[in-house]
Amino acid sequence: MLTTEEKHQIEHEISLVPTRKAACIEALKIVQQNRGWISDSSLAEVAEFVDMSPAELDSVATFYNLIFRRPVGRHVILLCDSISCYVMGYETIRDHLYSTLGIKYGETTEDGRFTLLPNACLGTCDCAPALMIDNDLYRNLTVEQLEEILNKYT
């Protein structure tokens, strides 16, 4: 069930656009913000609320990179793997994250703390390599900084 607060927030988004459907991406963002990801039942609830079939809403949800249709950890690490970060050696950062966290792309640590995902260009190419954790951007990364960065997230 969508919470009262979720419904309230989604209704506000609907008020800004001509049809209920047009607010569906905003609705998915609101629900994901609260629940971490979009489960099948969350998807069905949102679909009903914005007058769409679950299948149609899923076609939208799965199109976008940042709507998670599988559970993620408490913090999501998005590591840029595009061209400038490639030239500047992001692979050493990736390999260090693999060994420190014991996970690979698409996986979540056993304690549910981190999910690691590759991400397309973060638009900070003059400060490559770069990654984001939740809303925080880290740039000019070196392997030495990673421990301190990861320790900020519990």
């Binding site: 076609s59 976008y64 061209i83 400038s84 500047m88 397309a120 003059d126 809303n135």
Partner: protein
């Protein structure tokens, strides 16, 4: 040297508040158009300034606007959208403007919206730009409070609403018709043209989508005139341009310089030349979807015409450098992986062709390539080229590939003949 777009941007400092921005002349262009200029006069002034779209395509901005229906018979609802979905790999110029001076963008959007008589506007912002989202939200609220947005702006009778929309990540959203689908809550597939968005865009209403940097030029053109804007440039294309450099240079960054500044000046005087131990081999002049240029092109001026004449495109004007210690096959494979991943899958050549290209490049990089793979790659550069796909994504993807096959052919062939990567670096995206 005048730097109108970045003159009030200091990277270590918060962007100007509305009061501070007004104190340095901000929003003067809004008062000027509302008091002195008709929408058509604004359109003509911008057309005369020869401002060309800074998102990559380089279409004359005033001309683009002129296709919007005007006058009493035009639809009552029209839209203006700022394309702030910066996601072209290697591109980070709009971030500078969004984070550094959001009021300049809002001012430019008011000018553009007035010129086409739009009453609703959106900033379509990339999700990753969290700081920009915060600053734009604050700036929009300030602009409403000061009467630059909302009803009856500055007592003129003109109304304009402005909303911030942040995306959820997909390169396709940068294509203007796909962006409109995303704004409508749909998959970001591109739309068939015609009808063009100027006539039938967001929710079927006349819509203009302009790039952030394009919009930021507008207040300065209104305040200083078309001739002044042309005079900023060192070439036939008007204005200044935000140029960027990333890769193994000493001081990567982004600088506002006269249009027509040579590649060599940007690389050597601003980016500081190559890092110790690295040699220059080539560059993509304006993002991932532009053709390689090499040593012989370094004295070319960065403007639309000169770069096009050399077989590439100025694109976004943010260059990516290929150095001698980076494998060209890996470099191109990385680009093609991006395009294959970001293809919307709507049309077959792009959906099926790009993953095939990606697999061929991986095989070549691993030393498992066959001589005939070179022909298969060349085949793709033609069949995924202009005219064969629904939008510009796949043709854009083929630009760095076709030019790599031209300029770095020996490197590709060496991989195939020697059955291994001479750099011993095989890039594998999912490992």
């Amino acid at each position: 040297m005048e730097k109108p777009l970045t003159q009030h941007i200091v990277p270590s400092r918060k962007p100007l508040s509305l009061k501070e921005y007004e104190a340095v002349g901000g929003y003067a262009s809004v008062r000027k158009i509302l008091q002195e200029l008709t929408p058509t006069e604004v359109q003509n002034l911008v057309k005369d300034s020869n401002l060309r779209g800074r998102g990559g395509a380089g279409f004359n901005t005033g001309l683009k606007w002129s296709f919007v229906p005007m006058g009493p018979d035009a639809p009552a609802t029209k839209y203006l959208v700022a394309n702030a979905d910066e996601m072209e790999p290697g591109t980070f110029k709009d971030r500078v403007l969004l984070e550094g001076n959001p009021h300049q963008l809002i001012e430019g959007m008011i000018v553009a919206a007035y010129a086409i008589q739009a009453n609703i506007s959106y900033v379509f912002l990339r999700w990753a730009y969290k700081l920009a989202a915060k600053e734009i939200t604050r700036a929009i609220a300030e602009a409403y409070e000061a009467g630059y947005l909302g009803k009856n702006i500055q007592g003129s009778g003109y109304n304009l609403e402005m909303h911030l929309h942040t995306g959820v990540g997909r390169y396709m959203c940068g294509e203007e018709t796909a962006l409109l689908n995303a704004l409508e809550g749909k998959r970001a597939n591109p739309r068939a043209k015609p009808p063009f968005p100027q006539v039938s865009g967001l929710y079927g209403k006349p819509t203009i989508v302009n790039n952030v940097e394009t919009l930021c030029c507008l207040p300065h053109i209104i305040n200083n005139g078309a001739e002044w804007f042309k005079g900023l440039s060192r070439s036939a294309d008007a204005g200044t341009k935000l140029f960027g450099v990333s890769g193994r240079v000493k001081t990567p960054g982004c600088w506002e310089l006269p249009m027509g500044t040579t590649i060599r000046e940007i690389l050597e005087d601003y980016a500081g030349g190559m890092q110790e131990g690295y040699l220059f081999r080539g560059l993509l002049p304006g993002g991932a979807s532009t053709d390689f240029l090499v040593e012989e092109h370094l004295d070319l001026p960065m403007d639309y015409g000169s770069i096009q004449a050399a077989g590439s495109r100025m694109g976004t004007g943010t260059m990516i450098i290929l150095d001698d210690q980076t494998c060209p096959v890996g470099f191109v494979h990385n680009l093609q992986h991006f395009f294959a991943q970001e293809s919307c899958g709507f049309c077959t050549p792009c959906r099926d062709g790009l993953p095939w290209v990606e697999r061929l490049l991986l095989a070549i990089d691993k030393g498992e390539g066959r001589p005939e793979d070179m022909l298969a790659l060349e085949f793709h550069t033609k069949y995924l080229g202009p005219g064969n796909t629904f939008c510009a994504l796949a043709p854009g993807a083929m630009e760095p590939l076709q030019s790599a096959l031209k300029y770095f052919r020996e490197d590709f062939e060496q991989h195939i003949v020697e059955h291994h990567c001479p750099w011993s670096t095989v890039w594998q995206p999912s490992i």
